[in-house]
């Protein structure tokens, strides 16, 4: 790879704004005039007008930009490794976990513990499944090894609770059956964020 492509400064049409820097005073008198004019011009109120306008828009025009956390939350990158979720099959609503035990085996902090049994339908049923979040280091191996995309990292990053146990049961992690239609498919380990394309820009600077 040559350096040519890095030296190419042709950045195309971008909506960068260039600063107008032509009025820098060069003499002492000039500087004095600039100070006096900036002091007595009503530009202050131009700035304040922007604030007032935005306040008006926000309060009266319904154009609020503030995220009302914790009532509102911004979406986070799918790569983020928050509290685990257990997904269900969209078709039948059964949980996807087949009880293969790979997550338990791969877990490097030994925090996953599961028990399985032979159920009435001759299937392997997960009778107990817990993750000890006091030990979990959110490495994501469990989600990566899962052959069924059953255990994934969800979006639930607020992990303050009175008890760790509040998160760790299978039922807590499982998609509620009435919210099955809201279940998001896991994009996979290392997936890009949904608006990644929009955020890509060519930088004007060579490096």
């Amino acid at each position: 790879m040559s350096l040519e492509q890095f030296k190419n400064r042709n950045v195309g049409t971008q909506n960068y704004k260039k600063l107008d820097l032509s009025h820098s005073p060069s003499s002492g008198w000039g500087e004095f005039k600039q100070v006096v004019s900036r002091t007595f011009k009503p530009e202050l109120f131009v700035g304040l007008w922007v604030t007032l306008r935005e306040m008006g828009n926000a309060l009266l025009g319904g154009k609020m930009h503030t995220t009302q956390y914790p009532f509102e939350k911004l979406p986070i990158s799918p790569r983020y490794r928050a509290i685990h979720e257990m997904l269900r099959l969209m078709e039948s609503g059964n949980y996807r976990c087949i009880g293969c035990g790979l997550c338990e085996k791969i877990c490097i902090s030994n925090c996953i513990s599961m028990e399985t049994r032979y159920d009435e339908n001759q299937r392997k049923e997960v009778s107990k499944y817990t993750i000890n979040f006091g030990r979990c280091i959110f490495c994501g191996y469990c989600a990566e090894v899962c052959p069924e995309l059953a255990i994934v990292h969800g979006q639930r990053y607020e992990t303050a609770s009175e008890q760790r146990a509040s998160f760790s049961l299978f039922e807590d992690m499982l998609t509620p059956i009435d919210k099955l239609n809201l279940q998001q498919e896991y994009q996979g380990f290392g997936a890009i964020s949904p608006n990644a394309d929009d955020n890509i820009k060519k930088t004007p600077l060579a490096y």
Partner: protein
């Protein structure tokens, strides 16, 4: 009566893959290759049974021979040049794997066998990355056979299970249903729910046969294997407890080379749980030991514990009381006075190679299943004649027993004399013995024991052209009032007729205890009981004053029926006190119980080996390297045999203390998957004689232990002797160790008419 194993084997030389190998004439190519570390892939080959030859994976190329040769069943010839790996063989094997994978369910994620599956391994090895062929799949539901389940869809029809069920365990429950792709394995004795089928499941290379109780509860790779020895009976078989989160999930063994009965495989949940250090009880125990005159114990303890008790005896002068071990010790001593060696000569391997076997004084299938398996092997491999001498018939032995000789309960001395006479009369014996034999009143003995002379003739005749004999002697005779004389009579068979004699120890470590401890009779005074009811009781199954660990919670060694000292390890945690703690409080000083392993008495044949240095494995050829073999010592000879005492037969209602199959001790009683029936089993004839009906609750007393049992008619039984299980009597179990046949008075309990 020469021994067939004395014939000198002929050595042969051959070349396998360019390596010069030597073997013995009669060995197969595969055996010689394995001995020489040459790998030949197999799917259906199972070392411990005869070659099955259903998979054709083991094909090899022999120079000068057209076509491919099955190395598992082809005997090697001198000078043969053999190739085990080339592109043609690889293709052949790869095609076999492709066919094995036809419609094989892709459910490895949940399959119990995943991670230790032969099919997985070989599929990977031969690079089969997809299912190349398919066919119409018939409907084949999973079958629950009780202890094990069968999934025909996973079955690859290697037939290992059928061979094991026929050649090894002898239950003969599994059969092949031939039908091309829809071939399956059938369980023709499903209603009997043989626990010995666990052995068939153990050899299954795929997940078709699995333990019902274990199924889908854990994966192979999650379980830690704890090497141990089975503590249920005196065979002390090799096994691994498979443990996760301090819970035993299953028991596995080296099924390629060794065997395990149903009790060993499914009876593992007997640990003494939730025990913590109870200081007060411990202090009381030490106080009780301070005042005690007797220590009474059941001989289901390790060699180390036995040595601790012996050392305590030397220190404090206790009387060590263990009825069944004492009887066995006395019997063995009398026996050794005839043979001149402190131990009996026989072992199980030689038993399985015998051509003629006599079983006496034991319901062997119940008392020691592993001995029965070896009798079955001899029967299947060498068409051995098996004479089964006992007052009670056993239908489960019918398929191996060629002659059943029924004698009167109580007449064992006469039986031993008749047996000795029959087998020695045509052999040249020393003068004193000859005189003794000549003086026997055969007619009278025959009448008293109820064994016809023609039966003995038939026995002698059937053994006439055979060689390699075994005699299995069981617990009935050890507690007989004339045990010493019986021992001497039977000792003659080993001494003069070269019999491979196995004296089946009555409990797990009766042999070890009888060698290590100087045993006494109980005297007046305070008794401390260990797993036996005493004034102060140490117990490993609850009920006692101080808890002790069960055998799977302690490490130590056991002495097996093969006269082998085998190590066992801790599978379950235990939080309480052990016998060594008490011994240390009483003046002995060893940190761990296993420090006693190297102190086991050398003059009794033990080695001064450290516990941690004891090997515990089978080599590639199946040679057992577990612990070490006891060395028999010279014993002072006293071949004087007393006259046969008049036989006192038992009249009236006679019961025989005999546990049901899979049950041995109060420890096996706790195992929830084992048969828990606690009935007094009798024949229709017994019911008529005792005026009993099926389902009656009756009470009776044996050795001062009160029983109350439901009577059940067992149609497979004949005669007037009922079988009385003793395993569920808890701390009283070990008290029942006098002569196993007893005359009892039955009292009806409850439903009076």
């Amino acid at each position: 009566m020469s021994n067939i194993r004395d014939i000198k084997p002929k050595t042969i030389n051959l070349t396998i893959d360019g390596k010069a190998c030597s073997g013995v004439f009669g060995q197969t190519i595969l055996e010689i290759a394995r001995e020489n570390d040459i790998y030949i892939p197999t799917m259906c080959y199972l070392t411990k049974v005869l070659p099955i030859a259903s998979c054709r994976m083991c094909v090899v190329d022999v120079e000068g021979v057209d076509g491919l040769i099955l190395s598992c069943q082809e005997k090697a010839t001198n000078g043969a040049v053999i190739h085990t790996q080339n592109s043609q063989l690889y293709k052949e094997r790869q095609n076999i794997m492709k066919l094995y994978n036809v419609n094989h369910p892709l459910e490895c994620g949940v399959c119990d066998k995943s991670g230790e599956c032969d099919l997985q391994n070989k599929t990977m090895e031969f690079g089969v990355s997809g299912q190349n062929f398919t066919t119409k799949e018939p409907f084949r539901p999973v079958q629950n056979w009780g202890h094990i389940s069968y999934d025909p869809a996973l079955c690859i029809m290697c037939e290992k299970c059928v061979r094991v069920s026929t050649e090894i365990t002898g239950d003969e429950a599994l059969k092949v249903h031939f039908g091309g792709y829809s071939s399956t394995i059938l369980n023709v004795k499903e209603n009997q729910n043989f626990s010995s089928l666990g052995e068939a499941a153990a050899v299954c290379p795929v997940g078709a046969l699995v333990s019902t109780d274990f199924k889908y509860t854990a994966n192979a790779w999650e379980l830690d294997k704890v090497p141990a020895s089975c503590s249920h009976c005196s065979s002390a078989c090799q096994l691994d407890y498979e443990v996760k989160h301090d819970k035993v999930y299953r028991v596995t063994n080296n099924a390629e080379h060794s065997n395990l009965c149903g009790a060993g495989r499914f009876g593992f949940d007997f640990a003494n749980e939730n025990v913590s250090k109870d200081k007060e009880a411990f202090n009381q125990a030490v106080k009780a030991f301070g005042e005690a005159k007797n220590i009474q114990f059941s001989s289901n303890i390790s060699n180390e514990e036995a040595l601790i008790l012996q050392k305590l005896k030397e220190l404090k002068g206790y009387n060590l009381v263990s009825k069944e071990a004492k009887d066995y010790q006395t019997f063995l001593k009398a026996y050794s006075e005839v043979t001149g060696s402190t131990l009996y000569s026989g072992n199980l391997k030689a038993l399985s190679q015998s051509r003629g076997i006599i079983v006496m004084g034991t319901r062997i299938n119940n008392d020691n299943p592993m001995v029965k398996y070896h009798i079955n092997m001899a029967s299947k491999w060498h068409r051995a004649r098996v004479a089964y001498m006992h007052p009670v018939e056993d239908t489960l032995m019918q398929n191996v027993v060629t002659q059943f000789i029924k004698y009167e309960a109580g007449s064992e001395e006469g039986v031993a004399a008749l047996l000795t006479y029959t087998l020695l009369k045509d052999i040249k014996v020393p003068k004193g013995i000859q005189t003794m034999l000549d003086n026997l009143d055969i007619g009278n003995l025959s009448a008293e024991t109820n064994i016809g002379e023609e039966e003995l003739e038939a026995l002698a005749k059937s053994l006439l052209k055979k060689s390699g004999f075994s005699l299995v002697v069981g617990a009935d005779v050890y507690a007989h009032p004339r045990a010493s004389n019986i021992a001497k009579l039977l000792g003659l068979l080993e001494h003069l007729a070269g019999f491979n004699v196995v004296l089946v120890p009555p409990t797990t470590n009766a042999l070890g205890v009888s060698l290590i401890c100087e045993l006494d009779d109980a005297v007046e005074g305070l008794t401390v009981g260990y797993n036996v009811k005493g004034d102060f009781t140490l117990s490993s199954f609850g009920e006692g004053d101080l808890d002790m660990p069960a055998m799977n919670q302690q490490e130590g060694t056991l002495t097996s029926i093969d006269k082998r000292v085998v190590p066992t390890h801790v599978a379950r945690t235990y939080g309480g006190y052990v016998l060594n703690d008490i011994a240390n409080a009483l003046g002995l000083n060893e940190t761990y119980t296993i420090n006693y392993t190297e102190q086991l008495p050398k003059d009794k044949g033990f080695e001064s080996a450290e516990f941690d240095a004891l090997p515990n494995y089978f080599d590639a050829m199946g040679n057992e390297n577990r612990g070490y073999l006891l060395k028999a010592q010279k014993a002072s000879a006293n071949r004087k045999i007393e006259d046969i005492e008049e036989i006192r037969g038992l009249d009236g209602v006679v019961v025989y203390n005999c546990n049901h199959i899979d049950q041995f001790t109060p420890l096996t009683e706790q195992c929830k998957t084992l048969n828990q029936d606690k009935y007094l089993l009798g024949s229709q004839q017994f019911a008529t004689a005792g005026k009993l009906r099926d389902g009656d609750t009756i009470g009776y007393t044996i050795d001062g232990v009160k029983f109350e049992r439901v009577f059940k008619i067992d149609t497979s039984l004949k005669g007037t002797i009922a079988l009385n299980p003793t395993f569920d009597m808890g701390l009283s179990s070990a008290l029942l160790s006098s002569y196993r046949f007893s005359q009892v008075k039955l009292e009806r309990v409850g439903n009076l008419i």
